[in-house]
Structures are given as C-alpha cells and as structure tokens.
Symmetry: C3
C-alpha cells in the first residue's frame, strides 16, 4: 500500500522543485504531455537533435524516451541521450509504444533497453507482454488484453532488465520483480484520449526526478496522480474532448485532501 | 441520397470493429486526428519509419496518407506504405494538403497517386482544382474558392485516377466520376479549427476500413458524420476552441437518431 | 503608449486580409499556434521541406522561425527560408526557444540571425539574456528570471542585430534599441500552457504581415492581443486546460471595445 506521507511529500516536491523533464517522445503526445507536466508543476523540454540531447538529458532531472513515432535518426538520438543520462546516474523512463505491432518496434525497444538500462519501463498490457515474448502480436498501439494478464510478464521483465515495470490499464500494476503494487483509479474513457499512456510515462519522469532514490515508489505516486486526476476529470466530462480539458485543469488544482480521499488501491 | 440503413450499419461497424487506421499524416493534425478516431471508436496509429510502414499498413484496415508537412524522408515512407497497402488490396486515402501552393506539393501528390493508386482522394476546392490544373495557384493550405466550383474538376480527377474524390467545403461533394452526392451539414466555424480537413480524411479511413467494398459510400458516411458532429458541436461552441472540444465529445456520444435527424443532403 | 487608432486598424487588417503566415516551428507548438492564427483571422501554413520553403516563405506575408525542436535538417530549411524571405524584403520573426540551455541552441540562433537578419526576435527573459551573454545558463525552455531583468539585454540585442526585440513575461517589453514599450496584460497561468510563447511569435507574424512598414508597432499590437486574450480567458478558466480553450475562443470573439477597455500598459 502507498505510504500517504511519502505520496504527499513527493507530490509537493514536484510542485515546489519544478523538475526539468527531458522528453524524446512522439509527435502525437508532445503537446499533451508538455501541458500535463506544466499543470502538475514540472518543467518539460522536448529536444531530439543528436548534437544536444546528451547536454539536455544531463541538465534534466529525468529523461523520458518514447518510441511512438520513431525513425532511424530519432533512435540514434534516444540512444545518445539514454547513454549520457545513464552515465550521469539516471533516471530514465522508457515507453515502448506499439511494441509487438511491428518487428522494428520490438527490436528498437530492446536496443534501447540494452544500451541505456532504463530505470522504469511503462506500457500497456500488450506492449509489456510483447517485450517479453517476441511472438505476442499486438494491434497497433492500443492494448488488446487486460493489464491483469500482464502481471507475470511485468515481473519477469523487471527481473530481466533490472527496471521497475509499470503496466497501465483498468488496474495499474507497478513491480520491481518482487513487490507488486496496484492503483485502481481512473476511468474507462481515459484510453479514448490519445497519448494518455505516453503522458503517464512523462508524469513518472516528473515524480522520479524528485525521488530518484526510489523509482518504484515514484512510479506508484505518478500512476496514482494520473488515475486520480483522470477519475475526477471523467466525473465532469461529456466525452474524451472535455475529459482532456478537465484532466489538465485537475492536475493543476489537485489538493492533498483530494489525493488521499480519491485514492483506490 | 444516402441509404439510411447502410449509413447506420457502417457507423455501428466502426464502433464495434474498432478498425486500425494507419496514418502517415502531418505534425499539426496528428493529435486531433487520433483523438477524433478514438472518439468515433476506431484505433489510430501514426507511424512513418521506412523499415516499419509496410508492416503497419498491411496490419491496418486502411492507410491514410496526408502530405501536410511533407519532406523527402516522409515521401519515401508514404510511397513504401502506399505500395504495400495497394498490393494488399487497399484501401488508401490520400489528402493532398496545400497542393497548388508550391510546385513541390503538386509533384509529390501526383507521384503518390501514380505509385500507390489511392482509393479515395479528399481535399478542399483549391487542392482538387490544383491537382487537375497545375496552373491553379492556391494560397497556403486554406481554400480560396467554393467547393461548388470544384465539382467538375473532382469528376475529371475521379475519372483520371480511378479514385473516389471528395471535395469538402460549405457543401461536401463525393464523386466517383459518374455519380455525385452531397452533404450539407457542418458549420462556418469548422475551417477555423486547424486540421479539420485532415481529420475528415482520417475519418474516411475508419469508415472505408469497415466498408472496403464500397469506398464511395464509405466516404459519404464519413463526411456525413464529420458534418453532423461539427454542426452539433458548433451549436454549443463559443468559438473554435470550444468547437474542438465539443466536436470530439459529440463523435463519442453520437446516437443513430441524432445522425438521421441532423443529416442534410 | 499604444496608438489606439493604429491598434484597431491593424487588428481589423488581420481579420480582413487573413495574411498567410509561414511557420517553421516546433512540434509542440504547431497545432496550438495554427489554431490561434486561425482564431484571430490569419491563415497559417506549416512547411519545412528544403525544396519548398523558399517558395512558401515568399508566398507568405511573414515567416516565423522557431527553434523549439530543431535538428540539422530543419536548421538547413530555416536558413533557406529565411534567406529567401530576407531577399524578398521580409518580415521574419525569430523565436530562439531554449537558447542558453544547450550550446547547440545558442549557436543555431546566432547562425540564423547572421544568415537571415530577422525583423523581430521574441523570447522569454532567459532566452534574450542568453542570446547576448553566452555565459547565461537557462533551465530548459522556461524562463528562470523576470522579464524586467532582461530589458537592458533586449535593448543591446536590438542594437546589435537591428531587430525589434520582444521579451515576454509578467510584463512584456518591446524595444527597437531606443524606445521601449510595455504590455501589462496577461495572467500568471499563461506560462502553464505549453507553447504560449511560441504562439505569441506566430501572432507577431500575423500582425507584422499586415503592418510590415512598422515591425515595432506590429509587435506591440500582437503582444497586446495575446495579453488581453490571455487575461480575459484566465478570468473564466479553472486551470490551464480550460485556459487554452477560452484563449482560442476569445481570440475569435474579441471586439474592439474589449481590446481598448482591457489594455494595460
């Protein structure tokens, strides 16, 4: 179970320290993820040029690598940034978007894992399962199975890579290979907003930037904030368009009381 | 006139089958088009890397190629994806954004048409006229003439390319070179939301993915849904910002009764 | 102080002439900046391919170069477009996003200034100071100091480059090296919406496109409209999500009376 005191302290730390989060992320997610990071109090930067990514990654409190709209040049930059950040002690969050849909994505995700040793890997159930079992075929970027199906794969992936693994879905699972924690907040409408998962990865970046000594707990806190804000936003939303607006507003106005009162594990 | 039974069946099919729509589209449109596809019930994927686009296009129910922010590398990927999808039997939707503004765009659009044989081409009046008459000069990406002016060009373009041609505007025209159908829904505020036309092309992708045997009818259905949702959203909007939000919400909540009651041809 | 008659005439000119604004801007800003330009009445185009940027820049009423998500290929296109626009007599707006965060950005900004001679440079305080003093270190893309701290640097940068320099912040400063004007509108919530500064640069592009003989006044008018719309939007907003929506709506519905009544200098 979540330690309330740590949760609130970490939430306050993001707002007060406004950590720089360096995202090498996909075109679809960039604007939304930047707005979510600004709303929670962090300072996002998007930068992908090979000559500057090492500098930017070292300057930042965390590096988030997301392969959603990858290509050859971007992969090169992801690896330069990831190696530089790893040498600087991390933390690095990897979002293996669409792994299992094409062989290229699966190979790239493993190439990044092996070169950069991410601190945290976050994906949906299909992606986490496909990372472990090259024979799992996923459909595009949306998950075709429940997060619960992926818990075993997540534990094995954590053991194999040394990373904290987060499976997001109806229930979010966070594991370091031994312990498994859950977050049961959220709304069925959230997957109908594009890049909600990518934004969860960027949010993990913000929380681990101010809590680098405990990436497991930082991931748990970030997923709790995502689920709580999504759930509160969905109560006021008429559809995914207004959900998006309310979600950003809620990240900005969230109080500590709301966090504790809404949290479901 | 639209066949109501086919229209509703096709609308339900998108929600129930959640077709994967592979978009190689522009940076401006990506987020909005993905959100519109998710709201109507489809499953969008954006992918442009040469090593994976053939795999992704074949996996998808439809491929949408949009040249809004083209460059050399992207054109290469568009053609690889388009050829693979054509060999797999299609369908392919082409959105020739900004054709007529620069010679580069006009040449590229024709290069794609000749290499990939799109099933459907959708543009505004300026773009459709400029595709046919290389001497028509359009201003940027917004249309400088009425859709009605482009009907003859649309018919000729359909004959010349074998594609269904859609001209969107105050009245939307859909033609296969012989028959011409119209949709008279929509709102004058819709062109004030960027990438509304690009999103129409992606919506056609969703409808033709579940109705591939009749791209003419699929295009008609998609344009009807766009116009109806835009018109309903505009009734609640204070400006293009809230129009965008209501538009996505409306795509998500649309009922069959609303479709039939609001449709204007 | 602002000349009310010129301000209103220029505001009307944007709506009536709908100037084409060619943006070579970053992935985060593209959608928002395009929507803001459409809402105020301008016609945005985003295009970055080397073979077409000279044509597009010459076709447009203004060129806006923004280095937010730069890389080698994009810099090449920025310089081709900038040189072509400069030869055609301008105007060119440069937004040196993140200058000071990495050496690469500082070098690139100066490379563009020297090659293209921008008419107007707009940045936050950190960026303007870092442009002048290569030893100023900024944190990512958000400003770490007040706009007031940067007034002297702005004047010197204007003298050195011949450009009008705009420093945006709690108070906006506009200077040509001699005169300094201020805009005191806005809201503390505006920097919590990503790409708000980038959108100010695109807005300057729209105003200078219809008022090219006086880039100082055009910049003042554009910053006034940004600040006024932001302030009016913030009064109705619950957070940065709804601020964004209200901001676009306000740009669309702004009246001349609202402009004059809300303006603070």
């Amino acid at each position: 179970m979540i330690n309330h005191k740590h949760f609130l302290a970490n939430f306050r730390a993001v707002r007060e320290q406004s950590p720089l989060v360096h995202n090498i992320t996909n075109y679809v997610a960039m604007n939304f993820s930047a707005n979510a990071l600004l709303a929670i109090g962090a300072s996002p930067v998007m930068a992908h040029a090979a000559p500057e990514v090492a500098d930017m990654a070292q300057l930042a409190g965390a590096l988030v690598i997301n392969i959603g709209t990858l290509d050859e040049k971007w992969i090169e930059s992801m690896i330069i940034a990831g190696k530089a950040k790893q040498q600087a002690g991390g933390p690095i969050v990897l979002d293996p978007v669409g792994v299992g849909a094409t062989a290229y994505r699966t190979q790239t995700a493993w190439q990044i894992i092996e070169a950069c040793h991410p601190t945290i890997i976050r994906g949906n159930a299909s992606e986490i399962m496909a990372l472990l079992h090259a024979d799992v075929k996923s459909k595009g970027v949306d998950s075709s199975c429940s997060s619960t199906d992926a818990v075993d794969s997540a534990k094995k992936l954590a053991e194999r890579t040394g990373a904290v693994v987060v499976v997001s879905g109806e229930v979010d699972y966070i594991t370091d290979g031994k312990q498994v924690e859950t977050i049961r907040n959220g709304s069925a409408m959230m997957p109908r907003v594009t890049a909600m998962g990518c934004t969860a990865s960027s949010m993990i970046g913000a929380f681990v930037a101010v809590h680098a000594h405990n990436p497991f707990e930082a991931s748990l806190h970030a997923m709790a904030v995502m689920g709580i804000a999504g759930e509160m936003a969905a109560q006021q939303a008429k559809g995914p368009g207004s959900l998006l607006t309310h979600f950003i507003d809620t990240l900005y106005t969230l109080t500590e009381t709301q966090l504790i009162d809404t949290l479901k594990q």
